[in-house]
Amino acid sequence: DRITVAVAANFLTTARDISAAYSAETGHEVALVHGSTGKLFAQIVAGAPFDLFLSADAARPARLAESGRLADGLPPRTYAIGRLSLVHGDKTEPGTLEEILSRPDLRIAVADPAVAPYGGAARDVLRTFRQDGWDRGLLRGESVGQAFAFVATGNADAGLVALAQALTFDREIWAMEVPETLHEPILQDAVLLKRAGDNDAARAFLDFLGRPIATEIMAAAGYRIPP
């Protein structure tokens, strides 16, 4: 069988590894469709032929549940918890988290808080270290991917991005983990969509996300696994 999984862009590389493992085990084919969470949501509402939706937040899966677009009896389920990291353009020790974030002259890239969950988390962190004008000199990318690109191309001094990105980036970059206590948790929820109600392969994939083989991949990629 072949299933189509809509996946938030920041989780795409990890999802590729997981679906490879899933296919190897079950023989089912997985087609990954990626995009920003907002776009994928709009497409699902418009009847996109997706079986599963791996969102980057919890809000949109909840909206889908409210409007009755999920397969019966399967509420949204958190498959991973995103972790934030601070990246910096200088490869030598640039300072502690507080030192870097409280410097007003640094240009810090984040994902647009209005659009992306990692952006919201980054906002929480910045508010902690900067009492007023937390968004001074802030650069907003459409997604964490763009925020990361700002740093990687040398246009931003630092960025609050996904830990997963810092780990997968194929060049060396200075990065440090941001304590999770500094922001609301970035819950990433998965849902089974209505059209896949009786698609066993899709259900199996959802279960597979909780199996150790998948959770190990996620953990290695920089996500925390929900209890």
């Binding site: 795409l12 590389t13 990954l32 990626h34 995009g35 009847g47 991917g145 763009q146 990361f148 194929d170």
Partner: protein, 223 residues
């Protein structure tokens, strides 16, 4: 990751869009170039409108318009049996809509500079309107046709906001090369992005240069 799928799909999409767009835009541009109707300026403005909306937003509205729950989408379903959204047909439809200004406007510019005299001469030589259009107006407007073709082809190759929204980025069905490059950038796979972008640029450059060289040949031969 096999790239031939997206590349092939992109060429198909851009080629088909270009051809259909020329077929659609030519009568519109001809009409606009020759009419004295009062509403002409409004129609001219309309043909430029798809440009002012951000592609994703345009895609969003096209998604609503084309969804099987809307009259247009439903009509398409009864016609063909499949939904317009998330299909290749839907992509073509959306691309045509989005690139319409790039086809209509250069064609209109070209048609307007021909002048009525040539068409009159053709008529007195026994050519019907349609014949004269084909044998006189079109060849004389060839530079405009070329511009329209190049702009709409290239724009379809490069645009992905609309395509991503309407097509849903489904491998083998609606995933085009621009989305592939976009994904590479998004997932920090910059090396792939460089390779793909470089390839696309070189390929496009070669194709366009050939097109323009051939265009020049044509002019020299005076045909």
């Amino acid at each position: 990751m096999t790239l031939w799928g997206p590349i092939w799909l992109t060429l198909q999409l851009a080629g088909l869009t270009m051809v259909l767009l020329l077929a659609l835009a030519t009568p519109i541009a001809w009409w606009l170039a020759n009419t004295r109707a009062r509403i002409k300026p409004a129609i001219e403005a309309l043909t430029a409108l798809p440009l002012v909306l951000p592609p994703t937003v345009l895609g969003f509205y096209l998604l609503i318009l084309m969804s099987p729950e809307s009259p247009v989408g439903a009509f398409w379903v009864t016609l063909t049996g499949e939904a317009l959204t998330f299909s290749f047909s839907g992509l073509v439809f959306a691309s045509i809509f989005y690139s319409l200004p790039f086809a209509v406007q250069p064609l209109q510019t070209a048609f307007q500079s021909i002048g009525r005299g040539m068409m009159e001469a053709a008529a007195t030589l026994g050519a019907s309107r349609w014949d004269a259009f084909r044998s006189v107006a079109l060849p004389l407007a060839r530079r405009g046709v070329l511009t329209a073709a190049v702009l709409s082809f290239a724009h379809t190759v490069g645009e992905f906001g609309v395509v991503l929204m309407v097509g849903g980025n489904i491998p083998g069905r609606t995933r085009v090369i621009s989305i592939e490059i976009y994904s590479a950038v998004e997932t920090l796979d910059y090396r792939t992005a460089h390779v793909l972008s470089g390839g696309l640029l070189v390929f496009s450059f070669v194709v366009l240069t050939l097109v323009y060289v051939m265009n020049r040949r044509g002019v020299r031969a005076g045909v």
